[in-house]
Amino acid sequence: SQTIHQWPATLVQPVGSPLSLECTVEGTSNPNLYWYRQAAGRGLQLLFYSVGIGQISSEVPQNLSASRPQDRQFILSSKKLLLSDSGFYLCAWSVKRESEKLFFGSGTQLSVL
């Protein structure tokens, strides 16, 4: 069966520090991968998605970047965090068909202080 791992679960970082969140998927190959962000009590905002190794599409211009160095690995990064980067970050995967259902990781709660 397929599983998705996302870590860390919580992270407290000072403003200006770098960020690296990692997500890996097991039990499937060539998935679509996604990073979403959720502000407290709000809906999900799509940040990045990837249809293959090295292929990243950015939805919102911001202080973050994403990379997909391996088929089932998706990394969210920042060189210098801002206060506004605080939020709940969710990784998800789907099969290759368009608009199919998403399988989410357990999320990372990021607090930038």
């Binding site: 709940f88 608009s99 259902k101």
Partner: protein
């Protein structure tokens, strides 16, 4: 904006009652999905309804879709305290790989 609205934003009911949540959207869709999120956790897929379907059932869940009104509803029958969570609708749009999520309905089921 492609984002729609969920209504109500919050809902509090007693155990055993039915809970109805609504989702409206603006653009044409090829499917609409409902997800559940327990506090501080990832989202879990509940049900997907395609644009050519009008109603779908899964256990205690019933989803309807009215493409002429660009709206969907999620009905949870005989609610339980364990149904307490936030519920989100997500739209699948032709030509767009990622889903667009609404702002969610926070459901509280009182035991």
């Amino acid at each position: 904006s492609q984002q729609g609205e969920e209504d109500p934003q919050a809902l509090s009911i007693q155990e055993g009652e039915n809970a109805t949540m609504n989702c409206s959207y603006k653009t044409s869709i090829n499917n609409l999905q409902w997800y559940r999120q327990n506090s501080g956790r990832g989202l879990v897929h509940l049900i997907l309804i395609r644009s050519n379907e009008r109603e779908k059932h899964s256990g205690r869940l019933r989803v309807t879709l009215d493409t002429s009104k660009k709206s969907s509803s999620l009905l949870i029958t005989a609610s339980r305290a364990a149904d307490t969570a936030s519920y989100f609708c997500a739209r699948g749009v032709t030509g767009r790989r990622a889903l667009t999520f609404g702002s969610g309905t926070r459901l509280q089921v009182q035991p």
